[in-house]
């Protein structure tokens, strides 16, 4: 499996990252690419920017642990996770999660799984910069619920009829 996990301050080229993951491979049949962007509003209020704080060392380790888990759960040929930190303005990409497999089920599931865990277990904290000042974004129950749905074993698939 071709794995790339990177944290960085600078913006990056999504297409180039995805191309690098599958370059030269003829066995990949499905690539699912998720990009998370900075919106221009948070809770109905316009914002100037997001600033992401992170825990260097643990963020990489935690992402790597979940990429490893994804590779055990699904037959993957490639995973790329790139996550920015620092000041990010509306419209900019914050995070990329891409998964490659021979068929689409594994690629969709792995990308979804990794995003649900990134939202709840990767040590990053967002701060909103708006007209009224700077405030910390609060973790959302919906994200915890999304992560929890991966805790039970996947449903048994019926044999094809």
């Amino acid at each position: 499996m071709t794995t790339t996990i990177r944290l960085q301050r600078e913006a990056f080229d999504v297409a180039a990252e995805v191309e690098r993951m599958t370059r030269g491979r003829t066995d990949v049949g499905a690539v699912v690419t998720f990009t998370g962007l900075c919106r221009a509003n948070e809770n109905g209020q316009p914002i100037a920017a997001l600033t992401l704080e992170h825990y260097p060392g643990m963020a990489e380790a935690e992402i790597a642990r979940h990429v490893e888990e994804a590779s055990v759960r699904w037959p993957l040929m490639g995973v790329t996770v790139v996550h920015r930190y620092g000041r990010i303005e509306p419209g900019e990409v914050i995070v990329l999660v891409a998964a490659a497999s021979s068929h689409r089920e594994a690629a969709f599931a792995a990308a979804s799984f990794l995003m649900d865990y990134l939202k709840t277990r990767a040590p990053f904290w967002k701060q909103v910069e708006a007209a009224g000042g700077t405030t910390w974004v609060e973790a959302k129950a919906i994200d915890n619920a999304a992560a929890e749905r991966w805790s039970s074993p996947p449903p048994r698939r019926e044999a094809a009829k």
Partner: protein, 83 residues
């Protein structure tokens, strides 16, 4: 042991990190938070709602009942908002 603080925990305490030497009775993460909370009003404010504070020992998430013996680095932070 080295302690690290992030996000509003860091802001309330006023430090990004420090070294501490807790006494023998402080055995778990929960004990450590309670011990830190007694230091001054800033620490008390940071840990006033201990249930909301998350912890990691040596880069791994741990529960409040985790033992701190042998830990190199313990971090305290609010629920995460990455992704």
């Amino acid at each position: 042991m080295r302690l690290l603080y992030f996000a509003w925990v860091r802001e309330r305490i006023g430090k990004t990190e420090e070294h501490v030497d807790p006494p023998a009775g402080v055995g778990t993460v929960a004990d450590l938070m309670a011990w830190l909370a007694k230091r001054d009003e800033q620490y008390a404010y940071a840990f006033e709602n201990a249930k909301v504070i998350r912890a990691a020992i040596d880069h791994r998430h741990v529960r409040p009942d985790a033992a701190i013996a042998g830990a190199g680095e313990i971090a305290f932070f609010p629920p995460m908002t990455g992704g």
